[in-house]
């Protein structure tokens, strides 16, 4: 079964999955927190936060990659600090690819989760408070279960974005086989290599299949959750 992809191509697939999984998993809690803050709290700087979160969606990915390079490169203020104190390096590593994917996927995640939080009636949260629940407990037992479909949708979008991120990644961490060469970067390289067309096509088909699978799974789970919330005893 491994015959139809070369070892290098498998490497790209594995790397893409790893990058997308880490990018999604790490940004998920932050994404839910930011979405909740934007949906429920009124605080100074709320609009600024909203804009910053959405910038990667609007800016050219190359610019995002360049800014990441400035901030998280080994010489950058944040990257240098993390390198010295925690030994975490982003420059030209898969971790950097994951960071770039996470930043690019973040607005998708926040939008989906925020919409679902806004759809939760705050009156239910009030009711929980009168029954004695603290804010944390209300979030865990009332808000969170009701926004599971939104979180799933956001996660799938973020994961798909992570699998497919190109511009910011190649700008930030370059195209290094085994380290930062995810599927899209491998396709790009294949297209620039004479005779690489077949390789590009195989990787493209794989990309489409993975994306379709992710969507199908999330649809299925969302429907089950929605049925439960809707009152039918699933």
């Amino acid at each position: 079964m491994t015959d139809w992809l070369t070892a290098a191509e498998w490497e790209a697939v594995r790397l893409s999955l790893r990058v997308a999984l880490w990018a999604t998993a790490v940004s998920l809690p932050f994404g839910i927190f930011v979405a909740y803050a934007l949906a429920r709290w009124r605080f100074p700087g709320r609009e600024v936060l909203n804009i910053v979160v959405h910038l990667p969606l609007i800016m050219p990915p190359v610019v995002t990659g360049y800014l990441l390079l400035l901030a998280f490169g080994t010489q950058g203020p944040v990257g240098g600090f993390l390198d010295r104190v925690f030994g975490v390096t982003f420059a030209f590593r898969w971790t950097g690819a994951a960071l770039a994917s996470g930043v690019m996927a973040f607005p998708f995640l926040v939008r989906a989760v925020r919409l679902s939080i806004e759809a939760v009636d705050p009156k239910l949260e009030e009711a929980a408070a009168t029954l004695g629940a603290t804010r944390t407990w209300i979030f865990l037992t009332v808000t969170l279960p009701l926004i599971v479909p939104g979180i799933l949708a956001g996660t799938v979008l973020a994961f798909a974005k992570g699998m497919g991120e190109f511009g910011a990644t190649i700008t930030f961490v370059s195209n290094i086989p085994g380290q930062t060469q995810t599927i899209p970067l491998a396709i790009d390289l294949a297209l620039e290599t004479p005779g690489g067309g077949a390789r590009a096509a195989r990787l493209a088909v794989l990309s489409v299949a993975l994306a379709a699978l992710a969507l199908a799974v999330s649809e299925w789970v969302s429907r089950r959750v929605a049925a439960r919330i809707g009152g039918r005893d699933a």
């Binding site: 009168t130 029954l131 004695g132 009152g231």
Partner: protein, 362 residues
Amino acid sequence: MLEVALKQEMPGFTLDVAFEAPAGLTVLFGRSGAGKTSIVNAVAGLSRPQAGRIVADGRVLLDTGAGIWLPPHRRRVGYIFQEGRLFPHMTVRRNLAYGARFAPAHTPREDMARVVEMLGIGALLDRRPGALSGGEKQRVAIGRALLAAPQLILADEPLAALDEARKAEILPYFERLRDEVNVPILYVSHAASEVGRLATSVVALEDGRVLRQGPAAEVLGDPAVLPAGAREAGAILVAHVARQHADGLTELEAGGVPLFLPRLDRAEGAPVRLRIAAHDVILSRHKPDGLSALNILPGTVAELRPGAGPGVMVALDTAAGRVLARITERSATAMGLAPGVALHAIVKSVSVAPGDVGGEPA
């Protein structure tokens, strides 16, 4: 005992009230916009009043003078909302149990089995709210509030979203709550029929002020309160259109009793809610004869409520439903009225309840 004093300035509306709610069921009675819900939300901690003091059985929930504001989850208040507000993703059982874990360990609490039995919701425990009727949801909401071991129960027009049949289904549970649960209940209503049936005491509100407060019979029987405090006293009957007559009258039927109204443009069989104002009813011990009135309902006296002035409110049970009549105490004495006495209610005018057929007008 609950003591409430609140002051809140809002654009175009000022709330300035002070009242006490003793044990039993106290109705906050007044029209929409009188400030009832603002008061209940302040008691529950869902709003922060500009100035005020709320003390429940010696516990200070709010004292703006002393800078005290207890957050809602620490107030031990069981709030029954108009729309139920059940958690849609939980079964009835988990909804009921939600508040129990937060009650301090030593507090006496209601037993789940007893509450389930009292509210008749045993068959619903494994369902989710989406699969319940409006009346069932409201019964579960009552149980959920009760099982949180509250020191005070708040109910904000808990019947307003229900149709007449559902209301009749839920009212007895509030009567049981009042009679069997030893917790003060603050109940918001603008429906005179609910007040008459449930209230131990009444706080009549108008435009953000307390018009009158005291024992229910006293406040409701006070002719000064009723017309101003809310829609004036009067009974509501549920009827349906029986037939249209050629002389321009519409015949309705309520519980087998015919009632005549000027032409009502509704189809035969259509349900109609009627309001009979207490001051539009004349009582007679004998079946009247040779009278111009068309609508005469035979019934028996259920209750007499003397007021502070010369008036008496007489509640009459008829086949069509309960009718209220406001007469003078002098007449009541002369006629020898007492519970159980058979009478005829002569209805001078019947009005179709405004708004609609079915729901409670807002």
